[in-house]
């Protein structure tokens, strides 16, 4: 039938089905929150934000704390929520400064090692690795091996997320 389905998806506890269930539940909640009759740009934007956060949160929750990136994303979502609720920014700033310190220690250490061997490629490698750290949740505090492993898993989850969202949009537009 559809090339997207494979035997693994029949498993109700597969990542795809866990994400789908959670995300659909979140969409129902968002849909029920407000009668969406008017479509002022501000309301449209808010709804878009809520859906995006729901998608990321559903994916991170489906992975739970088994991965560094999902833990980092859940932490970020939670702290953003609590910042909006109350002014508990002190906790997040302490955490951020320790992450930045460990990141500076790690990248300067890596740069030292890379500069002893010659070649543009090593320097390009470190530059790209730093860019990657910014894209993967929690990447700033990871060493290189962890970063590469987490990136692979993060990409797999992102592609699942996109697959499911596309399918949902297709069905909603029928």
């Amino acid at each position: 039938m559809s090339p997207m389905n494979n035997p693994q998806d029949l498993n109700p506890s597969s990542l795809k089905s866990r994400f789908t269930t959670r995300f659909l539940r979140a969409l129902t909640k968002i849909n029920g929150q407000k009668p969406i009759s008017s479509s002022s740009p501000r309301e449209m934007f808010q709804r878009y934000r809520r859906i995006k956060v729901a998608a990321d949160k559903s994916m991170a929750w489906s992975v739970r704390s088994r991965r560094t990136w999902s833990r980092a994303m859940l932490w970020k979502l939670r702290s953003r929520y609590s910042c909006r609720q109350a002014s508990s920014s002190r906790r997040s700033s302490v955490r951020t400064s320790t992450i930045i310190k460990s990141r500076q220690a790690k990248t300067s250490h890596e740069k030292e090692n890379k500069n002893t061997t010659t070649g543009q490629d090593e320097v390009g490698f470190v530059v790209q690795a730093d860019k990657l750290r910014k894209l993967v949740p929690g990447g700033e505090a990871m060493d290189l091996c962890n970063l590469l492993g987490e990136t692979a898993h993060y990409i797999k989850c992102l592609t699942t997320q996109v697959q499911v969202m596309r399918k949902i949009a297709h069905f909603y537009s029928l």
């Binding site: 789908t20 990657l132 590469l148 949009a169 029928l174």
Partner: protein
Amino acid sequence: MSSRRSRSRQSDVSRITDHQITDLISKLQQLIPELRGRRSDEVSASKVLQETCNYIRSLHREVDDLSDRLSQLLASTDTDSAQAAIIRSLLM
């Protein structure tokens, strides 16, 4: 004598780590549609990382676009029957 031993141990450690890293990078290469078909010795490590960054950025953009599309569709659908159909098709 001791300095020579410690130096060789250091290079042993870095050889193991380099091999690990090369392995992880080739695994990453297989996940990226741009680079999937090519042999791992053809593509430099920094190129793999660069394409990985581009791929993740494009996936983020897709999630954004789909969220936007869903926010527009959400208003105008009968979600319950749609959801039943979605679950049936995705999980069976």
